[in-house]
């Protein structure tokens, strides 16, 4: 038995719904994610968390660097320092990926483990069928949330191999 691809487990509207809840609670009650595509600028920042379980891959949030800074200010609200540094922005974007990723993990088959958030160049995506991308506009600025399988062919868990090789009694 092979691991199912993400498109067999999730749909875009579930990801959109999870992201909207995260935005409303963390970024601001009035903040809306409009499910429309937009062209990402040349300078982008990505944050992601890994999920390891029956389905293994990452949940990646990507937006322009200016958008990332605005998201950080919105997230921190009155707790934002006067001058944001790069770590503030990385940390805030990482936490958004963590919250979205944690809630994506909850709707996938378990048990699964959630990794720590990372920021930078995201891991390479696996096969296209194991990738689900949602594009949205926040304050008119584009961002994307991609749930992507790990690079490589879908693996066959050792437990399944043993089961398949068992001699029927």
């Amino acid at each position: 038995m092979t691991t199912p691809v993400i498109t067999a487990l999730l749909d875009g509207s579930t990801i959109q719904e999870i992201a909207e809840q995260a935005w409303s609670a963390l970024v601001g009650e009035e903040e809306v994610l409009v499910p429309l595509p937009g062209e990402l600028p040349a300078a982008t920042l990505s944050s992601w968390v890994g999920i390891a379980g029956p389905w293994t891959g990452s949940v990646v949030l990507t937006c322009g660097t200016d958008t990332a800074e605005q998201l950080t200010r919105a997230l921190l609200r009155e707790h934002a320092p006067e001058e944001l540094d790069a770590e503030d922005v990385s940390d805030a974007l990482g936490e958004l990926a963590n919250v979205v990723g944690g809630n994506v993990k909850a709707v996938l088959p378990g048990p699964a483990a959630l990794g720590l958030p990372e920021v930078g160049t995201p891991p390479a995506a696996g096969q296209p069928a194991d990738t689900l991308r949602v594009d949205a506009l926040w304050r008119g600025q584009p961002l994307s949330i991609t749930v992507q399988g790990a690079l490589g062919p879908p693996h066959t868990p050792a437990s399944d191999i043993e089961e398949e090789n068992e001699v029927p009694l």
Partner: protein
């Protein structure tokens, strides 16, 4: 009243810490479970700890188990604040000794409600 906010995200520490300060708490912050244990060993004993689950060095579940194993820290209320939202994870945390569980994303009102349920809201903040 004192609260120790434990989260590897600086942003989340600021948000949770700021919210609790708004409730009237004096707060300190720690970036992982071991750093939080260091604060407790210093003798700074809070009424409540808010604890993220996934953190480097020592995760939230290990921290909860360690605190619950020490009778000197029995009075500390432990509230998980995490994006781990599956029922099984909630049960594990409560079995390890956490008193309450708040799922990220949360609002300040949700945190206030949980603290009120636990009787941990200073009177002026409850109004």
């Amino acid at each position: 009243m004192r609260a120790l906010v434990i989260d590897d995200s600086r942003a989340m520490r600021r948000i949770v810490g700021g919210t609790l300060e708004g409730f009237g708490y004096e707060t300190r912050q720690a970036g992982h479970g071991q750093e939080a244990l260091d604060v407790l060993h210093e003798g700074w004993l809070p009424e409540v700890c808010t604890i993220d689950w996934n953190m480097p060095v020592m995760d939230g579940l290990q921290f909860v188990s360690t605190v619950r194993a020490n009778p000197a820290w029995r009075a500390v209320t432990l509230v998980m604040v995490t994006s781990e939202s599956e029922h099984g994870q909630i049960v594990r945390a409560l079995a390890a000794g956490a008193h309450e569980y708040v799922i990220k994303p949360f609002t300040a009102d949700a945190l206030r409600d949980k603290f009120a349920l636990l009787g941990l809201l200073p009177q002026e903040a409850a109004l």
